[in-house]
Assembly symmetry: C2
């Protein structure tokens, strides 16, 4: 048992009071927010801040700072109150909570706030991200920092939490400490398990955690638990803290109906007085040790050279992805790869076999993969994640939140479209481009051959934000030489004559159908332009406008459902963004084309790729029919 | 201990052999597929079929048929071999596996095959759907059927499985029996837990299951386990069966490198001979008891009348959703509602308070909610599921698979767009329309006032497929009287003059901004048309074409990111679908109209709704500026 010294106890008690008071003040001032969800965890965070957290608030980029993730992001007022107590924000800013233009949004957001690593607010995500940070510390950077994660009890219903629990124990993350603020009350009443600490404990132990059950308002017990947790070896720890939502005030403590509700001014005023009034306690949070080793360990060195194998004949873009990953891994020592137990299909195994120490198996848990990837990315790694493109749908909320995090993560989805053949529609990504295009600030790439795929993977290494590469299961023939360059936002005009009657636009597997159709049409005296639209977002507006002006009609062919894919990306190139920049006139599009969309309009079944593409009306035969009908 | 009679033993042994032989035959004939994943579970399914399954294969719609879900959908060859053994498909059809046009796709698909309830193939989904079916039997229809779910061990890494485990025990589903085919090998090697039955058992017990651990190739143990499982009261059962992938053949048994790989012809021929050759055993599967009670219990009666409250003043569409649910619940007794622990925000609580017996709390587990909803839907319920629109991203793979299932499910996402205000971007759905439009056969609705919302919810009751209603957090003023009708695929022209200079198109909250802009512009002598595009998919092509023809320019305003939303839906109305119907000419393609897209282009923060809409450039002020720039 670690006994708290009298002076420390007094500081902690004062801090806990101040954190509660400040959580109330900020939310009452804002007129919205979650004071009671903050109050339940105030004692836990007070002990953490005074005795255990190692963090240099003046240097949020310090490599060895502990990480602190509020997975229950709605407890943001508590986090912001901690920042004030750490001396890094002023009272005035704290009271700007949730106001337009304030850094202190309703839920914490990184970059906007320098001490936050990942955006939270969609529940059940923080633990996965913490696993990524803890993996970085333990296996890659060999740093001593701890990753602390504050969990809410409602979010324990999210399966993603259990994916992360399993992974944390699989990777023996004894540098990860999760704190469950078991305050019993969810948004609309009691949680499924209420205060049943024993069941949470049983579940967490079964998932490989060291578990400590405490009263989350007893400072001694909290101190004891943290002390024990930091000493645990070989497994992660979950501290289950029985707490009261709204603890500290009779008005709110363990009362239903207080979720996401600020106290009114009168209530707040009484509460603050009862809690001892406004105070200005500042805590000197312990600074972390300087790293003993270089952050990038010396065993991992990069050559800086990106060398691809020489391809001949047909090569699947998914295989080129694997080759490119290996080439990147050789060139740069900060490339880290994750895969959801299908690395022999996505070809991520080409990397894992070469760089086992920088590959982490996520098993079949796509949410986990994206969360861990984002966590690793916050620690400076260039993270590529792969699975079947269809199964990224599983991680869509994590991908959406990665954009809210202003995070960088590189995703590769293989087995896109009906052209995968006999496996059937459950394995066919036919919505993935729509999903990925809609992610804020995303880049969406869809190469048609191995060389362009390799070059785009090379580009992805440098890209910021969420980037997505769609690869094809089937082998496709080489279209480009290895000195060809591929810009993000570019395209390639592969066939063009002065008398082109229209333009065929494809990407990935449909580009090859466009090229076949081009040849068949040419034999019949019909010239058409062909564009490889490998960069679906951003899209090459200029080349599309030129094609519209010169050929009048654009026929877009895609192995994707008709909504949100290639066709919509092309159409969007002809829409004007409103409103105009201040004082400017709207720029008009000079030549509006006719657009024909060829896409997968019925649910495919099983069959050979060519049968399914024919049936979906996206094969060369269908393109020829369409073109002849248009020009005939 | 239940001892198997000699005759039953002999039948089971013969059946298990036949199931293995047929799984090999079909996959070798197909040249792809998963024989070894089928072989590991053949003994389990043989005992089930001969002694426990109650199913009338001639009447797949029989209300009291047991349900059998292959959550490990890639074991489809085993399922199809069972169909042959049940006498409902012929050998020839069985050997058409994975061929174009065959009902027997690579993974099982309902409606295509009458004995399948839900499509599987995206792992980790079957248990949630089974929970829905078991809830229907236990709580709604009071039927005696059991729900059997065959789980793979790889899929136990998916968090969705644990969401479903927690829910199955929460609802005391003693009519649900899950069988874990623990064959140790995943796609690319060993699973995280291998044959560690004890850990699976510990986890499942912690999640409230009765657990039975057996050797999955010992017929006595299997029989004992099923016998025990059907008698368990008050909790669901998990049978953990230790098996070998590819069991029965030295070539494949417990061998790595055999995932998703058929035997070649020579290997198959030897294997079939070794296993005793081709056989034609037919099993008379026990038929279920006729239901003792009516399927719809008499306590639940519907009036058939849909009565909404009389609204005055501003009402949030989310509140109208709640009122409409309650009205539907009064009118029809097959309406069932699920919510992910936010029913006081989505207003689903208006239903739950009125019809507690038809409301099921899914806690914060959106994948579970959609899976359970689909399961209930297969049992004839009209299921509405609600949460914050942003959090449906969590369930996107389940929604995608619901479409593969040809399933019907009604989703309502509240708190759409930046107009929710101070909570910040984690809670703002800005990708949901893109995501939902891309779902095959989906309907996407976005009402602007309480009356249209109510009418659309009423329409949703009858809709087949995946339908999605987007509701708004903020109150909006009433635009329609209660006798107005709203067709799916329709729109409303709210303002129109002969000299309209352009058309403003909005839906939901932006429609109100369009109307405000209209009034401001009219004062300045500028007439514009205003369209309420409440049906985003299908979209009202005719009205849009008329507006384009008559006013030339369409300005689309949406509280959504620019990709895949309202703007793209409008543009798509002007793209022609290729190729033409057989023998027909393409409909004359017109050039695109001028389209201006006003959408959320930067990541919002916190603030008041009007501040955020202004900043996102989707408010009336921005619309006026845009229009004046266009017409000035």
């Amino acid at each position: 048992m670690v006994e708290l010294q009298a002076s420390a106890v007094s500081t902690i008690v004062d801090l806990a009071r101040q954190l509660r008071v400040d959580s109330i003040r900020a939310t009452t001032e804002a007129g919205s927010g979650h004071p009671t969800s903050a109050m339940s965890a105030a004692d836990l965070m007070a002990v953490l801040m005074v005795k255990y957290l190692k963090y240099d608030f003046e240097k949020p980029q310090h490599a060895n700072n502990d990480r602190l993730i509020f997975s229950k992001g709605h407890a943001a007022p508590l986090l912001y109150a901690m920042y004030r107590a750490a001396g890094c924000i002023k009272e005035e800013e704290m009271l700007s909570l949730r106001r337009f233009g304030s850094r202190l949004e309703g839920h914490p957001v990184p970059q906007v706030i320098p001490w936050v690593d990942v955006a939270t607010g969609s529940l059940g995500q923080g633990l996965a991200m913490g696993v990524g940070m803890a993996i970085a510390a333990k296996y890659l950077d060999k740093l001593s920092y701890k990753t602390w994660i504050l969990l809410g009890d409602s979010e324990m219903a999210e399966g993603s939490v259990w994916e992360a629990m399993a992974s944390a124990s699989h990777y023996c993350l004894d540098n990860l400490i999760a704190i469950l603020d078991m305050n019993r009350l969810g948004q609309r009443g009691e949680t499924a398990l209420g205060w049943n600490s024993a069941i949470y404990a049983q579940r967490a132990r079964a998932f490989g955690f060291h578990v400590i059950e405490i009263n989350g308002h007893d400072l001694d017990q909290i101190d004891f638990a943290f002390h024990e947790a930091v000493g645990v070896l070989g497994q992660p720890t979950l501290i289950i803290a029985k707490t009261e939502k709204g603890h500290g005030l009779a008005l709110t403590a363990n009362q239903d109906g207080w979720h996401g509700k600020p106290l009114n001014k009168e209530q707040a005023s009484e509460a603050i007085e009862f809690l001892g009034g406004v105070s200005n306690l500042t805590i000197n949070v312990v600074r972390p040790a300087e790293p003993q080793k270089p952050v990038i360990s010396s065993e991992m060195t990069g050559s800086g050279k990106f060398a691809m194998p020489a391809y001949t004949g047909g090569v699947a873009t998914r295989e080129a992805y694997g080759d490119a990953l290996r080439a990147l891994g050789t060139a740069f020592n900060d490339v880290v790869v994750l895969d959801a137990e299908v690395s022999n299909s996505t070809y991520a195994e080409k990397f894992s076999k070469a760089f086992l120490d920088r590959f982490f198996e996520m098993y079949i848990a796509e949410q986990l993969m994206v969360g861990v990837g984002l966590g690793l990315s916050t620690r400076g790694k260039k993270v590529f994640c792969s699975t079947f493109a269809a199964f990224f749908a599983r991680a869509y909320d994590f991908i959406r939140m990665a954009a809210v995090s202003r995070g960088t993560i590189k995703l590769c989805g293989s087995h896109a479209g009906c052209s995968i053949g006999p496996d059937g529609p459950s394995q066919m990504a036919l919505e993935d481009i729509a999903m990925m295009r809609a992610v804020h600030g995303s880049t969406v790439l869809y190469p048609a051959d191995a060389m362009s795929c390799a070059r785009l993977v090379e580009k992805m290494y440098e890209l910021e934000g969420v980037s997505y590469l769609r690869t094809t299961r089937e082998k496709t023939r080489l279209l480009y030489k290895d000195d060809e360059t591929f810009e993000i936002g570019g395209s390639k005009v592969l066939r063009s004559e002065k008398d082109d009657l229209l333009t065929l636009i494809g990407a990935g597997i449909t580009l090859h159908e466009c090229l076949k159709a081009h040849d068949q049409l040419k034999e019949q005296g019909i010239n058409v332009r062909v564009i490889d639209l490998y960069s679906v977002k951003p899209v090459d507006v200029e080349t599309l406008h030129t094609a519209a002006r010169e050929t009048g009609t654009l026929v877009v062919v895609e192995d994707h459902f008709p909504e949100g894919g290639l066709g919509d990306a092309v159409l969007d190139a002809f829409a004007v963004k409103g409103p105009p920049a201040r004082g400017a006139k709207m720029v008009a599009v000079e030549s509006l084309p006719k657009v024909v969309k060829m896409a997968v309009r019925n649910m495919p079944g099983s069959g050979e790729p060519h049968e399914l593409m024919d049936h979906a009306c996206i094969s060369a035969t269908n393109i020829v029919t369409t073109v002849k009908s248009l020009v005939g």
